[in-house]
Symmetry: C2
Subunit: 348 residues, 2 copies
C-alpha cells in the first residue's frame, strides 16, 4: 500500500496472524503446514501484493550417475527427461558423478558431502550402475530416492524407494519373435549375462526360443566394452562353424561390433546374417539400419523424477515399480535366412 516500502515476511506473518516460522514454512514448502493455514497465508500475501512464488527457494534433486566414466547418450537422455519433468514442478537437477565398489559396506562408502547434507538435495535419481550398498546408505538419510532399475547389480532388495524399468525383457522377446517370424531358428544371443541389462534381455530371448522349441544359445565374451564384446563374440562364433543365421546383440553398440566382425568374415548383413539390437541408440547411424528395440529414455527420466517428487509429497509409501514399455523398430538388418530364401527361390 505504502510507497513501495519493502514488505517483509514478518509483516505478512503479523497480517495473517501466524508466526514467522509458519510463513517461512509456507514460502519454502519445508515442513508441514495445514492446508487451511497455507491458504490463509497465501490469501493475505495476495492482498499485500507480495509475490510468494518469487521467494520460493528452488528445490534440488541429485541425478547420480553411478560408476560410468562418461555420460553416454543413454544416460544423457534419461537426464534430459528428468530435468524436463523437474522444471515443470519447480525443481532443478544437480548432476553428480559417483564411483564406488559394490562390495564396500554401506557405512564405508565415500559419498560426497552434498549428498549427505539434508538441506541441499531433497532427493536422488540413481542412473548408471548402482548396487545395494548405496541404496542402503541413502536409506539412512531422509532423502527420496528413485532408481533406474534395469542396471542395478543384483542381488538387490526392494525398499523405501521407487524403481523405474524399461521393458527390456519384453523387448528381447519381441526382437526374437521378429527374427523367428522371418524364418530364423539358429539365432544366437551375444552379450555377457553377468550384466543385468543383458541378462534381462536374454530372458526375453530365451522365452521366445523356448516357445519355438529351439535351444537358446549365448556367446558371452568376457569384456566390458559392448562393441568389443560384439566383435569378439561374433568372431569366435563364426570361427566355430556352428550354424547361425541371425545374431541378437544385447545392445546397439554390441551390434556395431557384430557388423564389424561379419564384414571382416566377408559376409553381409542381412543377406548372410541377420542382426538385431536393443536400445535404438546407434541404430540410426548404422548401415544397413539396425533392427532394434526402442527405449523411450526421456520417459524413463521423467518417470524417475516424478517418483522422487511425489515421494517428497508423501514420504512413507512403499516402493513403487514403474515399467516403461519398449517398441520394436525394424530397419534393414534382418531378412529371411539364406536357406529359406533359397528354398523360396527354388519354389518360384
Amino acid at each position: 500500500m505504502a510507497k513501495g516500502k519493502k514488505i517483509r515476511l514478518q509483516d505478512l506473518a503479523r497480517a495473517a496472524g501466524v508466526s514467522g516460522a509458519t510463513v517461512s514454512r509456507v514460502v519454502n514448502r519445508t515442513g508441514k503446514v495445514s492446508p487451511a493455514l497455507e491458504a490463509r497465508v497465501q490469501r493475505v500475501a495476495d492482498r499485500l501484493k507480495l509475490d510468494l512464488a518469487a521467494r520460493v527457494k528452488p528445490r534440488l534433486i541429485g541425478f547420480v550417475l553411478g560408476n560410468r566414466p562418461l555420460l553416454h547418450p543413454f544416460h544423457s537422455r534419461i537426464l534430459a527427461g528428468c530435468e524436463a519433468a523437474c522444471v515443470e514442478q519447480g525443481y532443478h537437477v544437480v548432476f553428480l558423478s559417483l564411483n564406488y565398489r559394490p562390495d564396500t559396506p554401506a557405512e564405508a562408502l565415500d559419498i560426497p558431502r552434498v549428498m549427505l547434507r539434508q538441506d541441499i538435495l531433497d532427493g536422488f535419481v540413481l542412473a548408471g550402475i548402482h548396487s545395494q550398498n548405496l541404496l542402503d546408505r541413502l536409506a539412512q538419510t531422509s532423502a527420496a530416492v528413485a532408481v533406474q532399475g534395469n542396471n542395478v547389480q543384483r542381488p538387490w532388495h526392494e525398499g523405501r524407494y521407487d524403481a523405474v524399468y524399461y521393458d527390456d525383457v519384453e523387448g528381447g522377446y519381441a526382437m526374437t519373435r521378429h527374427l523367428q517370424g522371418l524364418g530364423h531358428r539358429d539365432i544366437w544371443f551375444v552379450g555377457n549375462r553377468q550384466y543385468p541389462w543383458f541378462d534381462r534381455c536374454y530372458d526375453g530371448y530365451a522365452r521366445a526360443m523356448s516357445e519355438a522349441d529351439t535351444p537358446a544359445r549365448v556367446v558371452a565374451p568376457d569384456c566390458e566394452a559392448p562393441r568389443e564384446a560384439g566383435y569378439r563374440g561374433t568372431i569366435s562364433l563364426l570361427a566355430e562353424g556352428t550354424p547361425v543365421t541371425a545374431i541378437f546383440a544385447g545392445s546397439d553398440a554390441t551390434a556395431q561390433g557384430v557388423y564389424e566382425a561379419v564384414r571382416e568374415a566377408g559376409l553381409r548383413v542381412p543377406e548372410d546374417i541377420s542382426v538385431g539390437g536393443l536400445d535404438d541408440i546407434e541404430a540410426g547411424t548404422m548401415h544397413p539400419r539396425l533392427d532394434t528395440v526402442r527405449i523411450e529414455l526421456e520417459d524413463v527420466g521423467r518417470a524417475l523424477a516424478d517418483c522422487v517428487m511425489s515421494r517428497l509429497e508423501a514420504p512413507h509409501l512403499e516402493g513403487r515399480r514403474v515399467m516403461i514399455p519398449t517398441t520394436l523398430v525394424t530397419g534393414a538388418s534382418s531378412a529371411p535366412p539364406r536357406r529359406a530364401r533359397m528354398a523360396r527361390a527354388r519354389r518360384a
Copy 2:
C-alpha cells in the same frame, strides 16, 4: 571440551572475538573476510574441534544447455568435464536446459527463476547455442559466466565473461592440409557457414586452400540436421558432375550423411572419394573409420568450470579467452585421389 555438548557458531564467534556474521561469512565463503580474520576463525575452530568443512554450504554452478532439444554427446562430454573440475573445488553442477530466441531483447527473456536468484547459483557455464541477449541479461546479475565460444551466434561482444574455444579453425586447416598431402586438389567443404562452428572450420579450410592456390568451394545445404545436410549436399555435388576427389564435412555427423550419399551413388570411401570430418564423435563407429579432428571436450568443460570458479574468486577481471587445441586423427577414410593412384600405377 565438555561432554559432546553441541558447539554453535556463536560459541566460535565469541571464542574468536568476532561477530557471528563474520563467522557465517567464513564458514560459507560468502562475502569478503580478511585473510587474517579468516585464519583466526579457522584456528579457533580447530582448537574447539569444530569441523568447519562439514558445514560449508556446497556452492552451485549452473550448466546452461542453450537451444538444443537434447543432450548430445558433444555437450555431455563438456558437462562431464565441467562436473569433474567443479567437484575438485567443492562446487556442484546444476543442469539447466534453456530455449530462447536470439532476437528477444535481453530484458524480455524468459529466464527461470533459479538463474536470477543471486543466492542459489554462483555462476554459469553456457554450452549449446547461445546469443548475445542472454549474455547481456546475465551481465545484469552478479553471477560469474563462462561461455563455450565456438557456438555463440555472431555477432557477439567480449565482456565481463570468459570464453573457452576449441581450435576448430586450426582443425579445419590441419584436415585440409592432410587431404592436400595425399594429393587432393578438388576438395569441397560441406556445411552451412551460417552456423558459426561450420564457419570457423571453413576458415581453416579456406586458408589451406588458398595457400595451395586452389579455390575454396562449399556446398551449404539449407537444413539444420547435420547428417541430412551432409547427405543432401553430397547428392547435389555428385549430381552436378563437378570435379571432386575429397569432401571435408564440417562435423562427423555431417560426414555420416556424406558416406550415405557416396554409397548411394555407387561410389566407395576412400577409393573414389576421400572424406574428412571434424569433432571425433561418431568417427569411431563409422566404416571405414573416419579421418577427423579430435576435440578434447572434457578439457573444454574443465576450462569452462575453471573460468567460472576463478572468476568467483576475483570478479572484476576482464574477459579471458582460453583456446583448447585440437588434433588430427587419421582413420581409413582418405586415400590418394584416383588420378594420382592411376598415375602412380602407370609409373610402376
